[in-house]
């Protein structure tokens, strides 16, 4: 009977995850509508931008017709969405090359930066959060609290500027600009990306550590934790074996929220260090009215956000035996 209940439970969990997946796709579709509509609301269009102030109305209209900008909005939306799905988000109006090519030169850089930052930030945040929860009210907890609070409060351009002052200007350890090219060795890359990673880490570590601490403390006063202590379980094991399975869902949720910032929110850090990432590309697309590029970038950021949220929700479903096995 236990086996039967487990397999029907697994089925229930699959149904739940399937529903969650479907709602993510629906959200993404709605997001695409929103992005498209907002892009239409921005003043001016690419034809005007390309021809400049001196162009006549006829010239602009002709270019619009050539670019397909005079078709009705729903038609343009459908053809754009179809292009997105098939991997061809159109032609960049400014760079005069396919959007997919522009993005493929930048996206790997952004993903690499985000991945390395996550690799540094997640373990540190977990350690800080769990450590201060275990010493709740103690000196270590208060010290870590002050540290994370000030990390949250300091804006990242300040962190970046101070880091440049210390590591590039005074110590001359690291380059102040992150040059990235295909021929670079891993060591060179890491040297170049060290400061962007540091600055991004400081912001997300503080957020994640505080959420982790809150999630662990929320569980600490539960009777089952006292029971574990009275069974003779060692303090570290109480946290890892008893508290973590119950705290993992809120922690992963907080981490997903923080990490989603690493792609789209990295614009300041990318700009300061001149790192060729996706966020600064998107800002350029806005200033140059390059709608196809802008829309594609926005869709990538939204999709990344939804994927992270999906991972968080699936973790929550799998971590909860009430949802996993009924």
């Amino acid at each position: 009977m236990a086996g039967a209940s487990t397999s029907s439970g697994a089925k229930a969990a699959f149904v739940l995850i399937g529903k969650r997946l479907a709602s993510s796709l629906l959200t993404l579709l709605l997001v695409s509508v929103t992005i498209f509509v907002i892009a239409q609301l921005l003043p001016g269009d690419a034809a005007q931008e390309a021809l400049g102030q001196s162009a006549t109305v006829e010239q602009v209209a002709a270019l619009r017709h050539e670019m397909g900008l005079d078709r009705p909005a729903p038609v343009r939306y459908i053809s754009w969405l179809g292009g997105m799905v098939s991997g061809d988000p159109g032609q960049s109006l400014v760079a005069n090359m396919p959007v997919s090519e522009v993005i493929s030169s930048r996206l790997p850089n952004s993903l690499l930066l985000a991945a390395l930052t996550a690799l540094v930030a997640v373990p540190v945040a977990l350690a800080i959060g769990i450590g201060s929860a275990m010493n709740r009210g103690g000196r270590i907890d208060r010290a870590l609290n002050i540290t994370t609070l000030s990390m949250v409060a300091v804006p990242e351009f300040l962190v970046a500027t101070i880091a440049v002052l210390i590591f590039s200007v005074k110590l001359r350890w690291l380059p102040s600009i992150a040059l990235v090219s295909d021929e670079m060795s891993w060591g060179d890359y890491l040297r170049g990306a060290a400061m962007p990673i540091l600055c991004l880490s400081i912001v997300v570590i503080a957020q994640m550590a505080r959420m982790t601490r809150a999630a662990v403390i929320d569980q600490m006063d539960r009777p089952y934790v006292e029971m574990a202590v009275l069974k003779g379980v060692a303090p570290v094991q109480v946290v890892l074996k008893h508290i973590m399975p119950n705290a993992i869902a809120p922690i992963v949720n907080a981490m997903a929220l923080s990490l989603s910032y690493l792609l789209g929110g990295a614009v300041i850090v990318e700009t300061i260090f001149n790192y060729p990432g996706l966020a600064s590309l998107m800002v350029n697309a806005v200033t140059s009215r390059d709608m196809p590029l802008l829309q594609a970038c926005a869709m990538i950021f939204c999709a990344a956000y939804l994927i992270l949220m999906l991972i968080a929700d699936v973790t929550a479903i799998l971590a909860n035996p009430r949802l996993r096995a009924q």
Binding site: S5, G232, A234
Partner: protein, 606 residues
């Protein structure tokens, strides 16, 4: 072992810190000693320090408290001198703990087996497969269902009584020399409690472990203890052999406790025979949760075919286990849950089923008193604010008139006027429950629905609330529906009693019908499960024994719902034909109606 005593506690003192950081004692001057294999009971009300003392034997003090002095010896271990590492070595190994609420003391995210074998694994006492085999053996000894597979389940899939027994298995897996049982049956229904007590007695106590049993219930303790220590406000009031304390108590406090444990009969006011319509009538109500299906039943039916009346000024007791639907009746009457079928009539007038159609006047006449005053009253409001609100809402009273009425109400619930400006958070549990009652009375209702109003209170405080309610009934003539899981309380204060089982009325009749057999088999189980204050009751009681074997049940939806647990079930009748509702003999005016195949003769216990 050369020492005369196995466990010795001397001069124990535990302190806590108040808001200003000053230490104050919560437990002091505690001395007791017990021999190997003995059971000592710590008895007291909430706040008496019984759990605090029990936890010190594990070297544990709850956050904010410290073991400040005295000595605790268990075998050769001097508990107060050990460091954290040495204590962890003892806990769950030589000294085991069984927590009050197993439902929350098990980790919700891990399987039962993982948690049951954990003490054996962390203390390196045995390998996992051997520990699991031993666990299954214990499950079997504790009479748990499906002992071979129950370990692969999660806590939310099991009932409270099962979890409590599984917690005993977790404690016993290491063969501890001392077991601490902290109110292990308090959260359970009486019918479950008797099963768990039997399992504990058979398995925990008969393995020769020394035990400390914490409880507020003298009758439960009478079944388990050799010695009893009575505590009040952190000090020992009386200590001695169980027999002496129970039957020849020396201390006044012990006598008060004993008196509160046996509810006094509170005589009902004489009923005036007015041929008027009953105050409240429920006709054929079926109710539940979820969408209503084609058959007219909700997806999760809770109540089926409920018919009852409450006379003006009368008291109806509704009794049943948790999940029997007793609170749902109150919710249907109050309009919180519209019934799927049937009607509720107040003074002969049908009440609109939901909250929406009801007039303010109809709301005023029926008031609900919730079980838990802590959550029902806004802790940020003062007593005066809480009582003035219904006065303004229903009667339009303001200013001085409202204040005068508040003073009257305070007098009615026997609370000093000085508490009017006090915040709810600053009141004791009993005082809060009085305010909760006064809030309902402020509306000047004709009927109050009391949902387990004394369950969260200590026996002595609860008894005072019951006295107050009896007085109010006499003075104000308000009809009461009294919902409880405790049949002795209901028998003591109600004119009529309704017994619910799984949402169906199994027995209904006047109080007199519930004083002696015959009863419906379920009523019989309820009454027989209430522990009596004498040693040996647990062994003699026939309640909760295995029912006779019968064949498979038929498909009929109206078959007796109590069938799976009924000790009087008859093969070929109960599992095939739905039971009829019929009067149960007894003298005039004393007969109750039961839903059962049995008649008078076959229900008198042999």
């Amino acid at each position: 072992m050369t020492q005369a005593f196995h466990v010795e506690v001397k001069d124990l003192r535990v302190t806590a810190r108040n808001a200003r950081g000053e230490a104050f004692p919560i437990v002091s001057d505690i001395d007791f000693a017990l021999k190997r294999g003995e059971v000592l009971a710590l008895i007291g009300e909430s706040g008496s320090g019984k759990t605090t003392i029990a936890l010190t034997l594990l070297g544990h003090a709850r956050p904010g408290a410290t073991i400040a002095g005295g000595s605790i010896r268990v075998g050769d271990a001097d508990i107060t001198q050990l460091d954290a590492k040495a204590l962890a070595q003892l806990r769950g190994n030589r000294i085991a703990y069984i927590a009050q609420s197993a439902a929350s003391a098990f980790n919700p995210s891990r399987t039962i087996m993982d948690q049951v074998v954990e003490p054996a694994l962390i203390h390196d006492l045995m390998l996992r497969d051997k520990a699991e085999a031993k666990a299954v053996e214990l499950f079997r000894a504790l009479a748990l269902p499906f002992p071979d597979t129950i370990g692969s389940r999660y806590p939310h899939q099991l009932s409270g009584g099962q979890l409590q027994r599984l917690m005993a298995a977790m404690a016993l897996i290491t063969d501890p020399e001392l077991v601490i049982l902290d109110e292990p049956t308090t959260a359970l229904d009486v019918t479950t409690q008797i099963e768990v007590l039997r399992a504990f007695k058979a398995v925990v106590l008969e393995r020769g472990a020394t035990a400390i049993y914490v409880s507020h219930d003298l009758a439960v303790v009478a079944q388990m203890a050799d010695q009893i220590v009575v505590l009040q406000q952190g000090r020992i009031r009386e200590a001695g052999a169980a027999d002496q304390v129970l039957h020849r108590p020396a201390g006044d406090y012990t006598k008060t406790l004993m008196a509160a444990a046996r509810p006094a009969i509170r005589p009902a006011p004489m009923r005036i025979d007015v041929p008027a319509a009953p105050l409240l009538e429920i006709r054929g109500v079926t109710a539940g949760y979820g969408r209503i299906g084609k058959d007219g039943l909700p997806r999760v039916p809770v109540l089926r075919d409920i018919n009852l009346t409450i006379e003006r000024g009368g008291t109806l007791g509704v009794i049943g286990e948790s999940g029997s639907g007793k609170s749902t009746i109150a919710r249907v009457i109050a309009g919180l849950l519209p019934p799927a079928t049937g009607q509720v009539l107040l003074d002969g007038e049908p009440l609109p089923p939901g909250l929406k159609g009801r007039s303010r006047e109809q709301f005023r006449r029926v008031q609900l008193v919730f079980q838990n005053a802590d959550t029902a009253l806004n802790p940020a409001h003062s007593v005066g604010q809480i009582l003035e609100r219904p006065l303004a809402f229903y009667a339009g009273l303001k200013g001085n008139a409202a204040h005068m009425r508040v003073l009257e109400l305070m007098d009615l619930i026997r609370l000093p006027v000085s508490l009017i400006d006090r915040n709810i958070g600053g009141l004791s549990g009993g005082q809060k429950q009085r305010v909760n009652l006064a809030r309902a009375l402020a509306a000047d209702p004709q009927l109050i629905l009391c949902d387990e109003v004394t369950s969260a209170l200590d026996t002595v405080v609860g008894a005072a609330i019951l006295d107050l309610m009896a007085d109010l009934r006499r003075e104000l003539g308000i009809a009461t529906m009294f919902i409880s899981h405790d049949i002795s309380t209901v028998r003591a204060i109600c004119d009529d009693i309704l017994v619910l089982y799984s949402g169906t009325m199994v027995e209904m009749g006047p109080r007199a019908a519930f004083q002696s057999a015959p009863f419906h088999p379920y009523t019989d189980l309820l009454i027989g499960s209430v522990p009596e204050m004498r040693a040996g009751w647990l062994e003699e009681s026939h309640a909760g024994r295995k029912p006779p074997l019968i064949g498979a049940s038929g498909e009929h939806p109206d078959l007796c719902r109590f069938l799976p647990r009924c000790a009087a079930r008859v093969d070929g009748l109960c599992n095939v034909t739905p039971p009829p509702r019929h009067p149960l003999g007894k003298a005039d005016g004393m007969s109750s109606h039961i839903l059962c195949h049995h008649g008078d003769e076959s229900l008198i216990p042999s």
